[in-house]
């Protein structure tokens, strides 16, 4: 099975600003933002009160009453995004073997919303230490163990091959796709439905990020709250969403004349082995992940046309990653456009890595680099070309996307525009 290459042939996105690839790309290409004051619950007790929420009605997007009852919101977002990707890829017409089809779902925090909501009920508002299990909903086990998300995506895809959740914090969305790519390359599957989903906008998530002052306390002008690389940035804006892909072996995609958005040519992950939440300023481990991903893709730093940054908008991240780009890409770091779509769609934890891969594939599709919104005056220590405010027409054939997360995980992925394979 050596030499198997992996292509993206279908994309589905559910992101703040709209459900579907189309509204997602218009948001990004128009440089609009989807961050707003929290509406899901009363945010007034919290330090950070803005988020990038999705106006999402599961019924409107085809989920049945039983699906809605049993699934956490993150699973619902996943299934809707996966279905869009499946339709987009027309893979159903290809007659693929279910046993050679798998599914991988990335998620950082699983069914947080369900767990938060239902704990409140069984503990009667935290009063009962010995919770009353008779108030637990029937599918609570599926919230306890988030592999239920992978089961849902597998069912919707008809997958009977390898199926799993990848949960590496905020790099989950890259690592899930990277894992799926490996499974195709090694021959364990021919088609993988892979992506990531998180729906963390709930009181417990806000509270824990408040406690470490990781989210922005900015409340005025919520649409301008997420400011990666800007000198005035002071934390990230929590988001939610999902993005899924149909991945398949490139030669068979070509044989069935599928539309190929991109080839996933390189992927690597490393750990900083330093701190659960902290980052060393030198970016050495992210740089190592970037180097390894480039090596797997057999590319040089100068080949990269666009870098999709993690760009969370925390002080430490933006410097860490700027250092990592300089360390891994050398002089080219100063020439290549770098941007953070978190400025527009917020930081949806484990999901964002896949949402950013979708943005990269669409950037290649449209030869347009999405901007970093809200970037008016860059931090002097962040001195690269971050494509401020407006999207830029730019020949985009080779893209690097990176992620960095709690636990010390640093991941990098390289997407290329494949020439038609020999098949």
């Amino acid at each position: 099975m050596t030499g198997r290459r992996v292509a993206i042939t279908g994309i589905g996105v559910v992101a703040p600003g709209g459900v579907g690839v189309k509204p997602f790309w218009s948001l990004l290409s128009e440089g609009r933002t989807a961050t707003r004051g929290i509406t899901f619950f009363d945010p007034s007790p919290f330090r950070s009160r803005v988020a990038a929420e999705i106006d999402f009605d599961p019924e409107e997007h085809g989920l049945g009453p039983q699906e809605i009852r049993r699934m956490d919101r993150a699973a619902q977002l996943a299934v809707v995004a996966a279905r869009e990707a499946l339709t987009d890829s027309r893979i159903a017409d290809a007659g693929t073997d279910p046993c050679r089809t798998g599914a991988v779902v990335g998620t950082a925090v699983g069914a947080t919303m369900t767990l938060d909501r239902e704990y409140r009920v069984v503990s009667d508002g935290g009063r009962l230490e010995l919770v009353d299990h008779s108030y637990a909903p029937p599918h609570l086990y599926d919230a306890l163990v988030p592999s239920s998300f992978a089961a849902e995506v597998a069912w919707t895809s008809g997958a009977q091959g390898p199926v799993a959740v990848v949960s590496t914090g905020c790099t989950s969305g890259i690592d899930a796709v990277g894992h799926a790519v490996e499974l195709i390359r090694e021959g364990s599957a021919d088609v993988m439905v892979a992506g990531a989903s998180d729906a963390p906008i709930s009181p417990i998530t806000l509270a824990c990020f408040d406690a470490i002052k990781a989210t922005t306390p900015r409340t005025e002008e919520p649409g301008r709250a997420s400011r990666p690389f800007d000198a005035s940035r002071n934390g990230f804006v929590l988001g939610e969403g999902a993005a899924f892909f149909v991945l398949e072996e490139l030669a068979s995609a070509d044989r069935r004349r599928a539309h190929v958005y991109a080839e996933i040519a390189g992927y690597a992950t490393r750990s900083n082995a330093y701190h659960m939440t902290g980052l060393r300023s030198d970016g050495a481990e992210m740089a190592e992940a970037i180097r390894a991903a480039l090596a797997e893709a057999r590319l040089a730093p100068g080949d990269i046309d666009y870098v999709n940054a993690h760009g969370s908008g925390t002080k430490q991240n933006d410097r860490h990653e700027t250092a990592a780009f300089k360390r891994s890409l050398g002089e080219h770091a100063h020439r290549v456009p770098v941007s953070s779509i978190k400025s527009m769609v917020g930081h949806s934890l484990g999901a964002i890595g896949s949402i950013e891969i979708a943005a990269c594939a669409l950037a290649m599709e449209h030869h347009t680099v999405p901007p970093t919104a809200n970037l008016h005056a860059a931090d002097p220590e962040c001195d690269l070309d971050y494509v401020p405010l407006t999207a830029r027409g730019h020949r985009t054939d080779t893209v690097l996307t990176v992620g960095s997360g709690f636990g010390g995980f640093q991941s990098a992925m390289v997407l290329t525009r494949p020439r038609r394979s020999a098949a």
């Binding site: 009977q160 590496t168 997360g405």
Partner: protein, 409 residues
């Protein structure tokens, strides 16, 4: 030998199990059929419909870990950190003396640091959001054990976390093997799980798979006509995986090699449809991956759900692959309860010890239903010449994984 077929060896075991803390205590208990199942002590469970658990005995976290780590870790992370320390010591590896990027950590999880999360949720809803700990941002999430183990041991290579309920414990070993084959010299893998707390109990109960018995010797009876669910447990095993040649070159003791891995998923459930599960494919793919015929397998470590339909499916599958009573089958987890993601790594550790010692540990308490047609090793351990073991693990929702292990050549 190409990278794709390069042999990967297990060189270190760290065990935290309900019937033994540490590999030696565990193996001594397992060989004598000593169970660790008893009444729940971690909280007052008397009022719940399930009252038994397999709890890890005698673990004093402060004795094993620096006090800086205690406020920020859930019980299961403390167990995992200690088990990782023991596994590295068992493998005679000093991480400080190796290339940091040449070591990775790939663990499975099921419910994360659920007790830690429970306590913070309680503070949130009873006292207010300002009372939630700064450590909640990571102490309960699924990636916490891989992160903490990598930090404690300075491991910067490829790391990861998989969740596939009970099957994830084998999937991570497969993933660790991939990482070794792609050039990472050493990977710390396996899983340790624990969610024995009131909130975890409420969630586990909704699976409908917990035994309601209050008699430890009657509560978890896989393949028995009286099978009626399982007893939850905590713990698991951490394993050290290395390239077999490199392990040999450094003179490491090799417990065995991980020669076959596979994972499949059941067809979507549909009312009234009894479709064949994906378990047989998982076993056959793992055997194929190992280049093994069914006849080569000397012992099977079963998933042993103790849910009648699942027991029937597993027994039918084993008969289909190995024939009626065609291979000795055992479920030492009858002595620990089911450890969720921790169960399969512990079964792999047990299988490797069995290969080393030439003895099949027993399935306790069960009186096998002859209708299953299994040669279930019950009552006493069975001495046997063992060269090859199959470990089976399944997860809620339809996950099936299998692994083939061989004794060192």
């Amino acid at each position: 030998m190409s990278a794709a077929t390069q042999t990967v060896a297990v060189t270190g075991l760290g065990v935290a199990a309900p019937n033994g803390l540490g590999k030696d205590a565990y193996w001594a208990a397992i060989r004598t059929g000593t169970s660790g199942i008893g009444p729940v002590t971690r909280f007052r469970a008397e009022g719940y419909p399930a009252v038994l658990a397999g709890e890890v005995p005698g673990f004093d976290a402060a004795r094993h870990l620096p006090s800086r780590l205690l406020p920020q870790t859930d019980h299961m992370t403390r167990l995992a950190l200690a088990a990782a320390d023991w596994a590295l010591a068992d493998a005679d590896v000093d991480p400080a003396r190796r290339d940091a990027f040449g070591m990775g950590v790939i663990t499975a999880a099921s419910s994360g640091g659920f007790e830690f999360g429970q306590n913070e949720l309680r503070k949130l809803w009873s006292l207010g959001s300002q009372h939630v700990s700064a450590y909640q941002s990571f102490a309960w999430f699924y990636a916490v054990n891989s992160g903490q183990i990598s930090i404690r041991n300075g491991m910067k290579g490829p790391s990861g976390v998989l969740v596939a309920d009970g099957a994830g414990g084998l999937d991570v070993l497969a993933q660790a093997r991939r990482a070794v084959r792609k050039g990472t010299g050493l990977v710390v893998s396996g899983a340790v799980d624990a969610s024995i707390c009131p909130w975890g109990w409420a969630a586990l109960l909704t699976s409908g798979r917990l035994s309601s018995s209050d008699r430890p010797e009657r509560a978890y009876l896989p393949f028995d006509r009286h099978a009626a669910g399982h007893v939850p447990g905590e713990g698991g095993a951490i394993l050290i995986l290395e390239d077999a040649r490199a392990a040999q070159a450094r003179g490491a003791r090799v417990y065995g090699t991980l020669d076959g891995c596979a994972a499949t998923f059941d067809p979507a459930p549909a009312p009234g449809r009894g479709a064949e599960s994906g378990l047989r494919r998982a076993i056959e793919l793992a055997l194929d991956d190992a280049g093994a015929e069914p006849a080569e397998v000397d012992v099977v470590f079963a998933d042993a759900a103790a849910v009648p339909a699942l027991d029937r499916d597993e027994a039918r599958t084993l008969r289909a692959v190995f024939g009626q009573r065609g291979v000795p089958v055992t479920a030492p987890k009858t002595m620990t309860g089911r450890l969720y993601s921790g169960a399969a790594p512990l079964d792999v550790a047990t299988a490797l010890l069995a290969l080393t010692e030439g003895v099949i540990p027993p399935t306790v308490n069960t009186g096998p239903d002859p209708a299953h047609g299994l040669d279930l090793v019950t009552g006493r351990p069975r001495a046997a010449e063992l060269r090859c073991a199959l470990v089976v693990a399944r997860g809620h929702g339809g996950f099936n994984s299998a692994a083939v292990l061989r004794a060192p050549r």
